[in-house]
Point group: C2
Chain length 178, copies 2
Amino acid sequence: MDYTERKVTGKTVFEGHIIQVELDEIALPNGRPAQREVVRHPGGVCVLALDQDAQVTLVRQYRYPMGEHIIELPAGKLDPGEEPSVAARRELEEETGLRAGKLTYLGYLLASPGFCDERLHMFLAQELEHLDSHPDEDEFLDVFTMPYSELLSKVMAGELHDAKSVAITLKTKVLLGL
Amino acid sequence: MDYTERKVTGKTVFEGHIIQVELDEIALPNGRPAQREVVRHPGGVCVLALDQDAQVTLVRQYRYPMGEHIIELPAGKLDPGEEPSVAARRELEEETGLRAGKLTYLGYLLASPGFCDERLHMFLAQELEHLDSHPDEDEFLDVFTMPYSELLSKVMAGELHDAKSVAITLKTKVLLGL
C-alpha cells in the first residue's frame, strides 16, 4: 500500500553545525493532519578493520549524549559531497593510522528512520598498512585491537552497544564465515 | 584514559513531542571549549517474532525523514517509565496482533551515540499466539511474514537498512545457530 505522508508546511527549528531540526505539518494518507519532527544529519561511515591475524581495531571515546565512554569501530561523518568510500579511508587513517589495501562495501544502515535521516555506510577494511597516526585536533580517543572472536563474544554478550559496530561485526561473521 | 567532557552551560533549543534538542557549551578534557548538539529521545524497543515454522513478522511503513517506505521489524517508543519488556509485548500486539509466550532480551543498541541518547532494546519473541490486531489510530502499515532464511538473505544483500532490524536479525542467527 502507498502510505506516503505529504508535507503541508514546515520550518527549521534548529540549525546546528552537525544536525538540522525541522518541524513539519503533514497530511496522513487519510488526509488527517499530523506533525513530524525530523533531524537532518549528513550521514557517516563505519569501518571494521580486520588484519591478517584476525585482530580488529577499535576506538574508545567519551560520548557526551550518553555521558559515558563507549567502544566503537572507527567511524565518522561524511564531509559535504564526499563519497562514502573516500570518507571510510579518511576516517580510518585519521583515527587509527591504518591504510586499507582492500575496502569492501557492506551496505548502509538507517540509524533511526522514525525521526532522523542519518545513513551509515559500512565497510570492511583488509590488507592493512600502518601509517603514522594523525588524529584530529580536539579528538580524544584510545585506539586498541582485539581478536575478532573476542569482539563477537562481546557483541553476543550485550557488552558492545553502538548499533553500527554491532551490525558490522555480525555481518562480517556471516560474510567471511568466521 | 578519562576523556569526560564537562558541561559548562546549556539550553534547550527545541522541545518536541518525541525529541528534545539541547545545545551545550562544554569543556574538552584539555580544558578547551567546544559545543555539543544533543538530541534527547525516550528510547524504544524492537522485536523479532519467530514462529514455529521459522517465519518472521515484518512491517512496512512510510518513514517521513527518508521519504520512503521501509521494511522493519515491529518496533516502537517507550512510554514514560515503561519497562522495555512491557513495551516490547505492547508494540508487538499493537502492530501485529501477536502475543509472545516467550520473550528473550538481546541487549540494547545505541542508535547514534555521537549526537543522540536513544537506546533501543532488542527482543526475540517466540511461542506466538495470534490475537485480533489492534493497530494504533493513524498508524499506517502493512504487516507480513517472511521465512527467517529470506530475511537473513536480504540483510546480507544490503536490501534491509533499518539498523535495529539488521542487528537483531544477525544476532538471532548466531544465538540460535540458524
